[in-house]
Amino acid sequence: MAHFPKPAEGSWTQHYPGLGTGPISYRDSFDPHYWQQEIDSIFTKEWLCVGRVEQLSRVGSYFTKEFEWANRSLVIVKDQGETIRAFHNICRHRGNKLVWHDYPGEETSGYCRQFSCKYHAWRYALDGSLVFVQQEEEFFDLDKENLGLVSVACDVWEGFIFVNLDPQPSQTLTEALGDLATGLAGYPYGEMTQRYNVTSKINSNWKLFIDAFVEFYHAPILHQQQSTSEEGQKLAAVGFEGLHYELFSPHSMVSSWGGMAPPADPRMVKPMENFLRSGLFGPWDKPAVVDNNENLPPLVNPSGHRAWGIDSFLLWPNFMILIWETGWYLTYSYWPDSPNSHTFESSLYFVPPETSSQRVAQEYAFSVFKEFALQDANTLEATQSMIETGVVDTFVLNDQEVLCRHHHAAAREQVAAGRRPDSYPWMPAEVSA
């Protein structure tokens, strides 16, 4: 029994003819050859989110990003002109890694006036230009002008910093974001600077964790115990239905109900949630900056439903932004370490608390979120190991899993094309600009 209306075609999936409704193969989630094709045609060609402008608070602030899957290390820095730039993290003298602390393979962050190589002290300005060479007179025809750091395409959208490993990206960041560039703009991301950033090594293909976060079909079951037992049983009996699904191929979104923040009846939630007025959906009291959700970005809460709780947007290929009705946001990144492992990265962003109560409410929201993440993460390992057996070849997906179907299909299209395809067979031909 459908509680929320579906498109005229009868299902979200059939709203996109060409996406199909049949079983799909999960060979794309463990085949090493296919994984390499994804790296070559997706990850080294697309704009990838690496952080927020707030992480680079002043001129000279920097952080490094290790892309082991591409055998690359990057430095992202705010230069003298306050422009955010990205460079390959390699010294032009004899190739030492330029920025690292203690362990060359570990990501780091900090502040400096110039970058100085640990090996022979060559120095680079924040804009990458080579400014000092130790014993310069010993060199032969040194062309310092052309020995600056090798730059990487870098751009900022709504305070999110993106890089592109392609030396000549075929699209600008705005073009690559498509409808989401304006459709998600204007949310007070920049006001939500209270950040919890966690990472985890996960023994599954990167797409499997995205699958787990673009469907909530699993939520009433896998996470049942996280509700009070009566409420958990009720939720499991009802199951899950999205309020709205939409494809902006290769991007996508799902809009979901909430209703527990605050709950209609306090007995529906754990005692701590009532004590702290907080829970998985975040602190119950909205911060002023979200203006009671009167001015949400155009693509957020598309159904306008009063039970709206959260929207999850997948920004192709590996970045998600989740906007909560309660007035905070969450991001996920999935970095493909190998065919059957990835690094999961998540950040929770809240408005800086003004009172101790608000501070504790945020801490509790993090604590609860993390319990869900741990459950999800471990389930993935169990899935990965079994699909790899090949005992079962194809798997059936329901209508609430339309975004899983879409995400795998979009990857397949891009692998086949070797680059972002110009169109997708399931999308209507006349995509209005």
Binding site: N197, T199, S356, R359, V360, S367, Q375, N378, T379
Partner: protein
């Protein structure tokens, strides 16, 4: 231990939970994993009946400049956030079925 944990006078009895007054999430999480549900239940039972009183006491201080004894009280509340999950739902220290899954905290707000 000679000096007990510094706490506001009204809540001095909570000093018995001083090894829960931990500054980082990682320390609190590890403390949780290393504790029994009974130990966490004791923390829960000591704080939750007075939680409104404790929160309004903390709220009377500027969050940006908390005196040490109030900071310590806040750390106990943060530990309660962590410990309440085993107490209220799991009845075991670990998240069930979480196996080897673990999280590294890269950046977190500090008091």
């Amino acid at each position: 231990m000679s000096t007990p944990l510094a706490l506001p006078e009204e809540f001095a009895d909570l000093a018995q939970f001083e090894d829960w007054a931990l500054e980082t999430w990682r320390e609190r999480y590890e403390k949780r994993l290393a504790s029994t549900v009974e130990e966490m239940q004791a923390l829960y039972d000591a704080i939750t009946p007075r939680i409104e009183e404790i929160l309004s006491y903390c709220d009377r201080h500027d969050l940006a400049a908390l005196p040490d004894e109030v900071r310590n009280l806040m750390f106990l509340l943060f530990s309660l956030c962590e410990a309440s999950l085993p107490v209220e739902i799991w009845r075991q220290p670990r998240v069930p079925d979480s196996g080897a899954a673990d999280l590294t905290m890269v950046a977190e707000p500090r008091l």
